[in-house]
């Protein structure tokens, strides 16, 4: 890719106030058009890195440039317009008394004119397919799935280029997880957002992510197209992450002619037909 990255992380070091080194010399470029999964064990630095990306945490050393702005010298408000962050537990970010005012909270903070606030809120609620009968409902009363959508809408209303979603599929069943992911893919394809998903769900990563960044102990251990990253078992072992079962099966049988880059059952079947019908 020749274009300039939207987010560029340069030699980022992050140390918590108690001295714990969370991120150690991270270099990462995120481009317009990325649909990326950030994977790794709990405590590997995924969440810390993503909070650095939108300026919630400031680098101890190194720098992060977002859309040409250095996060160290940029106000919270202008960062919020560029990189949105959806927290894992929607309950932490719902504090207004109606769905509508919840979504309007961000645009009001950046002091937009009322007309535009209205337009943006409506658009965001449409995008997350929130039925209008819930607009005046207290977010607290909604079931978890809908609360999560309100949380995403509240970020969308700020129209950030990049959206980070922290473990959107935790506690969801497979069908619900797929719905959420398909919705995020839509946002990516139709609205042109950069999407960064933090997740532990490898089958989901294999199915939806175009790029994978694997982290472990504060380092980036692998970075590349999804199939490429899953094809590096040594690097993955260090992140304590295993590829999906079907990928592992293909890798174990690579000598029989299966590709270690296999991600889905359908791909596996296609290869099988070729191998067995030879």
């Amino acid at each position: 890719m020749s274009e300039a990255p939207y987010i560029s992380v340069n030699d980022l070091v992050f140390r918590y106030p108690d001295g714990t080194l969370a991120l150690d010399k991270i270099n990462l470029k995120i481009y317009d058009g990325d649909l990326m999964a950030l994977i790794g064990q709990n405590g590997s630095g995924k969440t810390t890195l993503s909070k650095c990306l939108n300026g919630l945490l400031k680098p101890t050393e190194g720098s992060i440039i977002v859309d040409g702005l250095d996060t160290r010298h940029t106000s919270i408000t202008s960062m919020a317009k560029r990189v949105g962050y959806v927290f894992q537990n929607p309950d932490h970010q719902l504090f207004n008394s109606s769905v509508w005012s919840e979504v309007a909270y961000g645009p009001r903070n950046i002091q937009l004119p009322p007309e535009e606030i209205k337009e943006r809120v409506q658009e965001a609620l449409d995008v997350v397919r929130m039925p209008s009968r819930y607009y005046e409902e207290h977010p607290f009363f909604l079931p978890k799935g809908l609360r999560q959508r309100v949380a995403i809408a509240s970020i969308l209303a700020l129209r950030p280029k990049a959206i980070i979603v922290d473990e959107p599929t935790t506690g969801q069943d497979i069908k619900q997880s797929r719905e959420i992911m398909e919705f995020l893919v839509d946002l990516h394809e139709q609205q042109g957002h950069i999407i960064i998903i933090i997740t532990h769900d490898m089958p989901i990563v294999a199915r939806y992510a175009r790029r994978v960044v694997a982290m472990g102990q504060g380092h980036i251990l692998a970075d590349g197209p999804t199939a490429e990253v899953f094809a590096q078992p040594e690097a993955l072992a260090k992140t304590f992450v295993e590829p999906p079962q079907i990928t592992q099966l293909a890798q174990r049988c690579a000598d029989l002619g299966f590709s270690p880059r296999t991600l889905t059952v359908e791909e596996m079947m296609e290869q099988t037909r070729q191998i067995l019908n030879k």
């Binding site: 935790t170 506690g171 592992q248 099966l249």
Partner: protein
């Protein structure tokens, strides 16, 4: 005799219209490991709470039929008596901790059921190495990692030595490696102890190798109840009810469907690898 028995059991929460569980009939023999699966909202948690007595003691609603644990109706037990029979591990490890240190946490339940200091010491000597939490004993339980938390929760329940252990999505919040380690503990438990385990899980890859029996709950009803192999042979039924078996099983089912394969479904990755090798080598020999 069955250790857990549901008889025409139904439950409806107050303030709701639909029954959360309907017409449940189920017998679980002592010492079996049962995997319970089904999409969210199908009644899995209600099922778990009905065994450990939180339903009906803590919730308002309509209850019909019976649930027996060790031959006695659940609602006739006193809370601490039932706690000796049934232990529960919840999905959110954070929300089940109430003590300042891991040790207090593990000891809490044992104190509640009235064990002496000596008994507690003995049980700790057994349960701490089993769950590998020895190095954590002095730490606050909410400061250890997610996987460790769940092992602490497991230790706290095991220490009470319940005859039935119910796990309500114990690994939903964990990363893959922590998940695996929790299942390792379960595997060890299964081989060393004679507990009955009822595990509610979305994550099938780890569950299947341990399960003696699988139950599919959907919309408050039991749709399918069988040993794992025949259970997964009902692939179309499973997919129709939003259950997506692990990749290797799905793959072998496709092989079966397209006529490349006609053996039993492999339940583990090792099994699948071996069978795929056999298959390919056989075809190559023939050609």
């Amino acid at each position: 005799m069955a250790i857990v028995r549901f008889e025409d059991y139904q439950w409806k929460y107050a303030n709701t219209k639909e029954f959360a569980l309907r017409g449940i009939n189920l017998e679980i023999e002592e010492g079996t490991f049962v995997g319970v699966i089904g999409p969210n909202g199908s009644g899995k948690t209600t099922f778990a709470y009905s065994i450990n007595g939180l339903i009906p003691s803590q919730y308002y609603g309509v209850r019909k039929g019976h649930v027996y644990v060790a031959g006695r109706e659940v609602k006739e037990y006193r809370a601490d008596e039932l706690a000796k029979q049934v232990g529960v591990v919840f999905s959110d490890p954070e929300a089940q901790f109430t003590a300042m240190t891991v040790e207090d946490e593990v000891v809490f339940g044992m104190e509640n059921i009235g064990l002496t200091v000596e008994e507690i010491r003995e049980r700790l000597e057994w349960v701490v190495p089993l769950t590998e939490i020895g190095h954590l004993m002095d730490k606050p339980p909410y400061e250890v990692s997610g996987g460790q938390k769940q092992r602490v929760a497991l230790a706290a329940v095991l220490g009470m030595m319940p005859r039935v252990i119910v796990m309500d999505e114990p690994t939903a919040m964990l990363d893959p490696i922590s998940r695996k380690r929790v299942f390792d503990v379960l595997g060890r438990m299964k081989h060393e102890q004679s507990n009955t385990v009822i595990a509610i899980e979305h994550n099938l890859e780890n569950l299947i190798p341990l399960a003696d029996r699988m139950v599919l709950l959907y919309n408050g009803e039991i749709i399918l109840d069988d040993e794992p192999r025949p259970f997964f042979e009902q692939m179309d039924l499973l997919l129709k009810h939003d259950v997506f078996p692990p990749g290797a099983i799905q793959y072998f089912f496709e092989l079966l469907r397209e006529g490349y394969y006609n053996g039993p479904l492999p339940l583990t990755l090792d099994d699948a690898t071996a069978r795929l090798r056999q298959l390919v080598e056989k075809v190559k020999e023939q050609s």
